[in-house]
């Protein structure tokens, strides 16, 4: 008697489970790393070694997804953000990404940082058909959906930014004698190439000097002295923040006032312009796609207020002058949007499909008017920039929003 009751109960339970699961199968689809309750995301970033300054980005993203989880997750699923240290070393990057994929079994790899590390893992991830989504580097090669359909960039490419400067100069200062100071690595060389492409046939006559420096040099004073001797009237500063600040300070100390254009990477108010001295930085030009966390003009901006509230709650004590907090927030918000668009179809193919269908998406931290757009043939999410001029203690935007897509070769 007892046993028949039990059997009936069990079979009823089984039918119930079967019913719900068939219903679920109709719409829910998962790849490794996703389930009814969880989405597992992998990330690598340098937390140690000479590039550890970028670790802030990974920490911000981790905190962002903690906030998302506290708000109920994405479509009811919690995000499990697994982030590892690659020390900015390509062999370590390969090891850590393989660990993420084969041991942690993540759904996708998000925002891995640095051109060398990303180049090292690109082939592996594409052959395994795992999204390498929104990589944290501005090389043009990430926008290549034909050859690498599983890799997508995020920020504007270095080359497109450099082209904008070249085109602006040709229009506003057609007779300019241009000198370029660049860091001797993939980052600096991309800017160099973009500038030359932008000048086109006029490159040879306009660019009178290309001076490179190594990141291991403590001070770049002698390069500035050398450039000044060639007497250019425009100085393009394609450097990382420390050297950008040194350049602006040194040119002022030399009593030299060329028109200076500094890369967006080093346009931070708090960590470049202020250390270089606000007096020295007056009139410097740059281009931007995101708001600056230390710039007072965004104090009452609704998007930046949300960013600020997030920092207060999840990262107390954060140094707002560090651009990494703005960057990480914007990138994480873009991923959250894509995952939300995926709905219950959390397959890797659908993640790439949704990532390639972003239409006029605007994370809280982007400049007004700058929108994220992607398509099956356009894997460069942010492609718009606006020129800006440093005045007083902040950047003043001017001119139109310029789109600078550079197709990958």
């Amino acid at each position: 008697m007892l046993s028949t009751v039990r059997i009936a109960a069990i079979s009823a339970a089984i039918t119930a489970v079967a019913a719900t699961s068939t219903a679920a199968f109709a719409q829910k689809k998962y790849d490794t790393g996703a389930s009814d309750t969880e989405i597992k995301i992998g990330n690598i970033i340098p937390y140690s070694g000479p590039a550890s300054a970028y670790g802030v980005i990974g920490k911000t993203e981790e905190a962002y997804f903690k906030m998302i989880n506290d708000q109920g997750g994405i479509n009811g699923r919690k995000v499990n953000f697994v982030t590892y240290d690659d020390a900015y070393s390509p062999p370590k990057a390969v090891e850590q990404v393989r660990k993420l994929v084969e041991s942690d079994e993540v759904l996708l790899v998000f925002n891995p940082l640095g051109t060398p590390s990303n180049t090292a893992i690109q082939k592996y991830l594409n052959s395994k058909k795992i999204p390498q989504l929104f990589v944290a580097t501005g090389a043009t090669k990430w926008n290549d959906p034909k050859n690498f359909p599983w890799t997508m960039g995020w920020q504007p490419s270095y080359q497109s930014e450099a082209q904008i400067y070249a085109k602006w100069l040709m229009k506003e200062k057609p007779d300019a004698k241009v000198a370029i100071l660049y860091q001797n690595d993939d980052f600096g060389k991309d800017y160099l190439k973009g500038t030359k492409d932008g000048f086109g046939a006029k490159a040879a006559s306009s660019i009178i000097m290309e001076e490179s420096y190594e990141i291991s040099e403590p001070s770049i004073d002698s390069h500035i002295v050398k450039i000044k001797a060639a007497n250019p009237d425009v100085l393009l500063i394609y450097t990382t923040p420390k050297f950008g600040a040194q350049t602006i300070k040194k040119t002022a100390e030399l009593g030299w006032k060329p028109l200076q254009i500094i890369t967006n990477v080093s346009a931070s108010v708090g960590s470049v312009m202020q250390p270089a001295g606000f007096d020295n930085a007056q009139g410097v030009l740059s281009a931007a796609y995101a708001k600056d966390g230390a710039d007072p003009q965004w104090a009452s901006d609704p998007g930046m207020k949300k960013w600020s509230a997030f920092l207060d709650k999840y990262m107390p004590g954060a140094d707002r002058t560090d651009g990494g907090y703005v960057y990480g927030y914007g990138a994480a918000q873009t991923l959250a949007k894509v995952l939300e668009m995926c709905g219950d179809d959390l397959t890797r193919a659908n993640v790439m499909k949704q990532a390639a269908s972003l239409k006029d998406f605007t994370p809280d931290t982007l400049l007004p008017g700058v929108k994220i757009n992607t398509s099956a043939t356009d894997f460069a999410p942010i492609a718009q920039l606006q020129m800006q001029r440093f005045k007083g203690q902040k950047w003043e935007l001017f001119g139109d929003i310029i789109s600078g897509d550079v197709p990958s070769e």
Binding site: G55, A87, K92, V94, P116, D186
Partner: protein
């Protein structure tokens, strides 16, 4: 400032390790070998990849060990030889379409020549001066690799992507598994050759120079030849390791071969025990896994945790894994007596 003050008896930089003590016993060797052969059959591909890197770094650490533990010369520039080996293999594979296995001996020979030549000026330097010279080599190498003149071959700052080889003869092995066993075979061959080298006439000459250079030369050892030879052999083995590393990682770029790598290899040697060749694999495990452990303990302070762990190791066993092995041996002997 008397004359006496200026005469200093130079202590040997490295303490004497008798040549028998530089290797492992027969039984232990077999156990380690069996473990290295069997473990990959039961683990994930990613762990096989880690084990491949373990062997590759162990080779590089052993090469440094032959130089420092064997001939008493110190080098902080091993990353330079590793880079030359890696680029030699990568360029031959990608530009000349050569088989990966054939590129390794070439990488070894190129690096042997490079190391032998570098050993010439190094002859006149010792102690901190040699450390600085090799350190200079390590810092210069990434800059040389991205030099515009070689860009056609090296890929400049962007580096070169390398194709991973499949298992030959249609063997039913994954790429990772095949590469692991291939690396294991190469490593064992080099290890056996190195042990034999140190037991040979040349090995005795190395050690004589290490223990007392002037006495060695008085006994008729051609000090200059053997010191440069030690540099050449060390560089050659490091080059083969670099070539294997390029194949395993599938990518070479200047950023992969900075001074950090040279420092890691040096730490690997100290942790494994200077002059004790089997310790190289322990040292290699340290430099691969301890940063991962440190990161697991704290992301923000991973560097500090790594430093603390390193201090713990050198406090507990200042002579590295060799010390552990010796203690274990004595314990075993005691147990036998009882």
């Amino acid at each position: 400032m008397s004359a006496a003050e200026e005469i200093v008896t130079e202590a040997a930089a490295v303490e004497a390790v008798p040549k028998r003590a530089m290797t492992l016993g027969y039984g232990t060797s077999l156990v380690v070998l069996a473990a290295l052969i069997l473990i990959p059959l039961f683990v994930k591909n990613f762990i096989i990849f880690q084990m491949t890197m373990l062997l590759i770094y162990a080779l590089a650490v052993m090469a440094l060990n032959i130089l420092t533990g064997g001939s008493g010369q110190f080098s902080l520039g091993q990353s330079a030889f590793y880079a030359v080996g890696a680029y030699t293999s990568a360029i031959l594979m990608e530009h000349a379409g050569m088989n990966y296995a054939l590129t390794l001996p070439i990488a070894g020979i190129v690096c042997f020549g490079f190391g032998f030549l570098f050993g010439q000026p190094a002859l006149r330097l010792s102690g901190v001066y040699l450390a600085l010279a090799t350190f200079a080599l390590a810092t210069a190498m990434p800059q040389l690799l991205k030099l515009g003149y070689f860009e056609h071959w090296t890929g400049g700052v962007q580096g070169l992507v390398v194709t991973k080889p499949d298992a030959p003869f249609g063997l039913p092995l994954s790429q990772d598994m095949w590469l692991y066993y291939f690396t294991l075979a190469v490593s064992i061959a080099i290890y056996v050759a190195s042990v034999n080298l140190l037991r040979s006439r040349s090995g005795r000459a190395f050690m004589a120079i290490r223990d007392n250079e002037i006495a060695a030369s008085a006994m008729g050892v051609d000090v200059a030849l053997y010191k440069t030879l030690a540099f050449g052999v060390s560089a050659g083995i490091t080059g083969v390791a670099g070539g294997l590393g390029a194949i395993a990682v599938q990518f070479v770029a200047p950023d992969g071969y900075t001074i950090q790598l040279a420092i890691s290899l040096f730490l690997g040697m100290v942790v494994g025990g200077v002059g004790w060749l089997p310790g190289s694999i322990v040292g290699s495990a340290f430099i691969i896994f301890v940063p991962n452990i440190a990161e697991g303990i704290s992301k923000g302070l991973s560097g500090a945790v790594f430093g603390v762990l390193l201090f713990l190791v050198i406090f507990l066993v200042p002579h590295g894994a060799r010390q552990v092995a010796i203690v274990a041996q004595q314990l075993a002997a005691k147990l036998k007596k009882n």
